[in-house]
């Protein structure tokens, strides 16, 4: 049973426009969420995170929104740039602790393609 779902395997966006990547979760115990970015042949790199006590967190061109009642979060990238083309993973954990057996629960990822 997938607890973190990214239902769009891929997304194509024009350069300069907004990219919106979505993520849904089913485990109501999750209270910390992260986005990782992954280029081919590299490991995931941390991008941005949000605690369940917030509904928005912003870092430069990247903003994550959290809707707890809907168990939904989204990552907005504005404006989208060619270097943003990558696979984006949504991850979640309980109690802000990504260590331990509970660890991070990852979605399957969304491949974002920025078209010139």
């Amino acid at each position: 049973d997938q607890q973190v779902k990214q239902n769009s395997p891929s997304l194509s966006v024009q350069e300069g426009r907004i990219s919106i990547l979505n993520c849904d979760y089913t485990n109501s115990m999750f209270d910390y969420f992260l986005w990782y970015k992954k280029y081919p042949a590299e490991g995931p790199t941390f991008l941005i995170s949000i605690s369940s006590i917030k509904d928005k967190n912003e870092d430069g061109r990247f903003t994550v929104f959290l809707n707890k009642s809907a168990k939904h979060l989204s990552l907005h990238i504005v404006p989208s740039q060619p270097g943003d083309s990558a696979v984006y993973f949504c991850a979640a954990c309980q109690g802000k602790t990504g260590g331990g057996a509970d660890g991070l629960t990852f979605g399957k990822g969304t491949h974002l393609i920025i078209q010139p």
């Binding site: 995931p44 602790t97 260590g99």
Partner: protein, 115 residues
């Protein structure tokens, strides 16, 4: 600053062979993790360690063993390779288990094929 280093990058094994995937980090992190990523899937936790001499199972530990004799190194051992273990393996580390303070840092992965 090397971060998390994994070797080898690629490996092909025959069914029943054994091998060790190496992982080392130079950030003095206490926590280390092994994940596997199957095609089209998210990462799943195999084993983790909260410090030298301490290891524990994650979500998918069957068929694997780990050890943590030093803070820097966290090797993953496959004893009897099976086709189901064909995957990309990622090692990660973090200073503590509190992702709110410091998220996990990942290596570039080992792509393993069992034929």
């Amino acid at each position: 600053n090397a971060g998390v280093t994994q070797t080898p990058k690629f490996r092909i094994l025959k069914i029943g062979q054994s091998m060790t995937l190496q992982c080392t980090q130079d950030m003095n992190h206490n926590y280390m993790y092994w994940y596997r990523q199957d095609p089209g899937m998210g990462l799943k936790l195999i084993y983790y360690s909260v410090g030298a001499g301490i290891t524990d199972k994650g979500e998918v530990p069957n068929g694997y063993n780990v050890s943590r004799s030093t803070t820097e190194d966290f090797p993953l051992r496959l004893e009897l390779a099976a086709p189901s273990q064909t995957s990309v393996y990622f090692c990660a580390s973090s200073y503590s288990g509190q992702v709110s303070n410091q998220p996990q840092h990942f290596g570039d992965g080992t792509r393993l094929s069992i034929l």
